[in-house]
Symmetry: C2
Subunit: 208 residues, 2 copies
């Protein structure tokens, strides 16, 4: 009996949070988040003020929660990343990321399209950084560590921006084309770490 | 006489805005922006509520104004970008960007380090996009336009992220090293657009 009660209460929490989120995203379509009040949010969500404060401290907590879910899902996708076949893995990673965003968080990305919260992008980059460390790790034999760290930032930022720009462009080219370009670019940069290092060591910049 | 009055009044506006900004950045060190009220801001800035509303509609307007200044400064730097010597230009661009941020907007970037406003990054990317269009434009002869658009997103995102990550790392390597890696990576990707296109045309991804 206790379990049933617990389940019912869990379900109620999920339902309440869902209502609050839906209401927030609805209001955000016409208002800047900083000017939304708890009162108008709870009124639209048909939830008590006190219930709101049981789950959240403020409105941005709701965004944080949504983004944590997204980051967890991205982390799960990346954990299956196989550095053995880089070009195929990047291709699959791109497709799965798109699927996640289109099917499950489409509304959120639509909302955030023109004013992405930097914190989400940062967190997604951190996840990518961890996987890039795995792949680029062995290049510290052929290249200096400081170079590898910066190259990795370039490659991750490139991958993520290609994804964001493709999403922002209203997905003007097919997902397969976007995934193909992303994977070939990543693969090309990673495979050429030794050559790029060589160029770095030879290039001399005369300061003006 | 009228001119003197005008000058004095301009100076007063600048002084008022400066006080409001300084107060906001001070409060932001310990508080999330969404929970800052106009009252505490004007109290700390020692400015009337009505004066505040003469210049701004809400608190995020202050961030928008600061970021517009940053974007204008970045645009000015990029307008001198010379696509003739890509590797040297990117190097100089990186150095000048860092100088701007360190010397003039250091406080802002320090504040935003862990939670960058996506809108600023977006606007900086748009500026970079315009210059990338100039450079990559002629590659549409050797590559399909849709590929070039995506490659450009990759290169811009890579450049910007290398810059942001370097800044975030507490500038753990010298600015010259970071600028060198950024410029060699950009140059390497751009110069190899024909080869990457070739790979793209040959690579076949079998969908699972």
């Amino acid at each position: 009996m206790a379990v049933t009660t617990r389940n019912n209460s869990d379900k109620r929490v999920i339902r309440t949070k869902k209502a609050i989120r839906a209401a927030l995203f609805k209001i955000m379509e016409s208002k800047d988040i900083s000017s939304i009040t708890i009162s108008e949010l709870t009124t639209l969500a048909n939830v008590n003020r006190r219930t709101f404060y049981t789950h959240y401290n403020n409105i941005t907590d709701i965004l944080d929660e949504t983004e944590s879910e997204i980051v967890d899902a991205v982390t799960a996708i990346i954990s299956h990343f196989d550095s053995g076949s880089l070009v195929n893995s990047t291709y699959t990673l791109f497709l799965e990321l798109s699927k996640l965003i289109t099917e499950q968080y489409g509304f959120y990305f639509h909302l955030m399209k023109s004013d992405f919260r930097g914190v989400l992008v940062s967190r997604m980059k951190n996840v990518l950084k961890a996987s890039a460390g795995k792949i680029l790790g062995h290049f510290t034999i052929t290249s200096e560590e400081k170079y590898v760290m910066l190259m990795s930032a370039f490659i991750n930022g490139g991958f993520l921006n290609l994804f964001l720009e493709w999403n922002k462009s209203g997905q003007s080219v097919s997902i397969e084309t976007a995934a193909k370009v992303a994977s070939v670019m990543v693969d090309f940069c990673v495979k050429n770490v030794p050559e790029i290092t060589d160029t770095l060591n030879k290039t001399d910049f005369t300061k003006k």
